[in-house]
Structures are given as structure tokens and as C-alpha cells.
Symmetry: C2
Subunit: 330 residues, 2 copies
Amino acid sequence: MDLERLGTDLLAGDRRALARAITLVESGRADHRAEALALLARVAGAGRQALRIGLSGTPGVGKSSFIEAFGMMLTGQGLRVAVLAVDPSSTRSGGSILGDKTRMDRLAREPLAFIRPSPSQTQLGGVARRTREAVALCEAAGYDIVLIETVGVGQSETMVAGMSDLFVLLIAPAGGDELQGVKRGIMEAADLILVNKADGALRETAQRTCADYAGALRLMRPRPQDPAGFPRAMCVSALEGTGLPEAWAAMRALADWRAGAGVTAAARAGQARLWFEEEVRAGLLARLLADPAMRARVAAAGDEVAAGRPASEAAAAVLAGLYGLGGRGR
Amino acid sequence: MDLERLGTDLLAGDRRALARAITLVESGRADHRAEALALLARVAGAGRQALRIGLSGTPGVGKSSFIEAFGMMLTGQGLRVAVLAVDPSSTRSGGSILGDKTRMDRLAREPLAFIRPSPSQTQLGGVARRTREAVALCEAAGYDIVLIETVGVGQSETMVAGMSDLFVLLIAPAGGDELQGVKRGIMEAADLILVNKADGALRETAQRTCADYAGALRLMRPRPQDPAGFPRAMCVSALEGTGLPEAWAAMRALADWRAGAGVTAAARAGQARLWFEEEVRAGLLARLLADPAMRARVAAAGDEVAAGRPASEAAAAVLAGLYGLGGRGR
């Protein structure tokens, strides 16, 4: 692969180069990995940054319609928008929103937009690395906004929130006891809760839902670094386009505040440091587990711990064996 | 130290032996650590288990009064109760609830109860290990219930929830906009929200607060493994003792359900496995960082990553250097 050329094309904003670069960081092959690291190091020098917006919503909330309408509004303002999907549960070949390229057919044809489906990987750690690196590549390619969308299965919402500047939760209108679509804990991460489908017969239900969530947000401790009025719950209609400018204005207001207060830079530095530490830890463990005998030993010790063996003692025994310091354990 | 004797006394339920054993697991000395691991391995064989209840509440909610009243009710039923405090933010000598032994003076004098203040450590990882090991020691000493209480600073609530069978959130009555005492996200972990101080002039406010939280809990997705009606919000008064039998009945009902469904055993096995993996990861990193030159290198790389260097590439460079595989990085 001509890495030099790929880097140059990527920095020039070429969409095919961006797609190829993301394929490279998604690859599990060792030689591809080395190339991916070299490419990332090269394009990092450009120092470009996008507004990173995490977006979560369960199936049925109209996420694709929202992204299409929201994305078209942004590209209509001349902004370049990249959409990355994260779906660790996806087993479909080619990723979870392969179909979304069809469903988001207007945005997919828009020259200022780039849509990338989720890779068909199931390991969350791999998905996290790929997504962080894909965000960096989109930034290097000059995108103004990177939308990182997830269906919110398992830990993926927390993971996406941990790599975003803003986190938006999209929910559907529902009445009374139906209001159970939000995973416990994810409201922690939400800066903005958008109740979609506030149109037609569902308009009033959406408004009530919005008021309910606004009430629930008030029950929680405010984040000291944020301006008054956040987190906020608002109504939108992807179908009619209503509420989208207001939602974007709220995102911009919060993003500008955080950028001005130095919160964004500090958060990104902290996220990057955490990512680095995770990579070191994961790398150390991977090297440990690369030895089949050691892998079997760790697995057996894990089973014993699940059955009652003290974890610290089992871990100490495994580590002592590794470094030839003499086993203390059994 | 006579480990054999300590283990025997601990298994016989001797409180002084339990206190000494916890001091041993809290020690940072390498020889103490080896003894602690041997002791844990020895007493694990007894296979005793308590009901582990995590309890969180910010200062001012009346946590000490609640623990005293709740603990006295339990010991009044002949149950043995251990209280472990977790407060990573504590810098006071001797731990955060040294004063609580005075405030909980009835419970502290009760032969069936054991109260242990938080150690004056600031590193969350160390606190987590110590607390998990202290829980195991309390179980070995034959306690029926281990209450793990935390003030809910930073990640400590998540940590405590991750080592409990049940998680209880204690909150204070408050009206309207004052209702901001719950850290975002912690409602995810709560099985039971108890609104304390439902007595005297605050009774009605407490009932309204309880209804508000019940409403907020309904906004969230139920956990499929739990029976209907959980998580639940209830009123209690530590002062008058009202609501405590009902709260205990709810805890028992949920605990029995989970035990019967195999949920508790599976959760404990999963928690233990996770703990083991954390110990292995932390141990590997500790060994890496034991070398001053490597420590400096990791710190420098972390700073570079915070300033923009790609995390994966920096991690790969650090790891390559460690294993003499030739650096790929800068």
C-alpha cells in the first residue's frame, strides 16, 4: 500500500482515501496494523479537530431519519459531516447500518457527507479502538462534525460517550408505563435528550415525554462545569425538520461554552490519556496471553476464581509464574 | 505474625481477629501482602457467604443514623452485621468514619456487629482491593450481612455496586429544584432508593420526593432478571424506625429471588472473574512501571498522547521498547 499517497489524499479530504484508511485501521493483520499506526502518526500532525457528537438511540426511535435530516441541515450550512456507526452486537456481514446507507440515501449522496457502517466485529475493545482511530481519520480529512452513533447495546453507549465532546440521546415518544426505553445510567452521559417524532398524532405525547425527561434530569446533580440549562430535553421531528435548528443551536452553545472554558481540551486530553493507558494494559495482557500455556493457565485460574478462589491470590500466582519469581499459589 | 492462629480465630468469628486480618490486607508492605494472600486462600475454603449490600448516600442524608437503626434492627433479629466504609476521598487519619463509631455508638457496642472505617488510602484501585478482601474476611468470620457504605465520591459508587448483591441509594427529602443529590448514572445501579427523614416536618416532602424518584425509575428500562416492582423507591425514618422493616423485606425479597434464579451466583462469579482480570492487568502494569526508566517513558508518552500523539501508536512504541522488539514509534 502506498501510505504516503494515502496520507496525502486523506489530508486533502478525499472520501475514498478516508474509506480506505478506515478499512486499514479495522484490519486485524499485523502488517496492516503497523501501516495503520504509521498513517495515524503522520496525519495527527495536521492537528485538525472536529466537533465529536455521540448519538445513541434504541431501534425504532428513528435514528437513521434523524441523522439524515440533521446531517442534511448541517451540510446545507456548508459543514462537512462524517457519520460513524458503532454496533458491537452486529453480526451482519458488512456491519449494522449497511442498510442505513440506503435508508439515509440523501445524505449518502451528499458530497459534504461521509457515512461509515459499523464493522462486523464483536469485541468491544476492538470496536473502541477502531472507532477512536476512525474519528481521528475523519478529523484529518477535514470533517467539521463527526457523529458517532450507537444503538446502545451493553457498554457501547458509555464507550461512545467516552470519545465524544457532546452526547445526545434520541428517544421515542411514549406514554406512562411505556417510558422504559432509556438504559439506566445512560442519562448520566446525556447532554441533550431529543424526543423524536414530535409530529402528527404523536406531537402531544412527545411533548409530555419531553417534560417527563426534563423532570428526571432535574432530579440529578448538575455538572459543575456546564452552563445553566444543561442537560436539556427537547422535542424534534426528523420527518418535518422541526426542532433540528434549535437542537443544533443547543449543541453549539454547549460546545462553545465548553471550548471557551477549556473543558473540551481538558476532556480530550484526559480521554486520550485513558485510551493510551488502556492500549498499554491491553497490549501487556495480549503479550501475556500470546503464549498458549500461559493463556490456559489464566483461563484455568479465572475459572477457579469464579468458583471461589481468592482473586488477588490467583492473580499473584499467575504473575509470579510468568516472571519466574517462584509461585506462591497452589 | 501467627497466621495459623489468626485464621482459626477469624473462622471462629472473633472480632479482634477480623480487625487484625483487615489491617493485614490494607498493608502496603510486601511481606504483609504475601501473608494476606495466604490468609485469604486459607479462609476461602470455608465457603461462607453473606448478603452483600452496597449503600450509598451523600453527606447529610443521615447515613450513619440509618446504618445504626438498620443495623440494630438486624442484630435484634439475631443477624450478624458487618459495616465496611469506602471513602477514597478521605485524607483524615484513620479513615472517614472513625467518627461514625462514635455516632453509631449503639451499633459499635453491639456484640453481633462489626464496624470498620475506611482506610486512609486515596488510590481507588487499592481501596477496591482492600474492600473486596475485607468483605471476604467478614464472610469467613461468619457475618450474615456485609454493608458496604460509600459517600459516593467519583467512581466509588460504581465500585461498591460492583461488589454487592444489592445496591441501596439513600437520599434526603427535598423539594422541586433542590432534588439534585443523585449523581447521574448511579440510579443505574440502585435496586432500592430509600428516602430518609420521612418524619416530623419533612414527612410530606419525603413522600413527594419518593414519588418523584419512583417516577424517574419508571422512565428507565427494567432489568430483565429482576422481579416486577424493582428497582423501588420507599420512605424510611432512621429516627423513628419506620419503614426499616419494609425496606429489609424488600431487600430480602429481591435477594431471595435473585438467589433462587441463580442470578446472584452468576453475578458473584462474574464479579470475581472481573476482579481477577483487573488484578492481573494491574499486576502486569505495576511490574512494567517498577522500572524507573520505563515509568518515565510511559509518563512521557502519556503526556505526548494528551497533547495529540495517537494513543495506539504511542502504546505500541512503549510495548515494543519493553520487549526489545524494536521500536516502531518515534
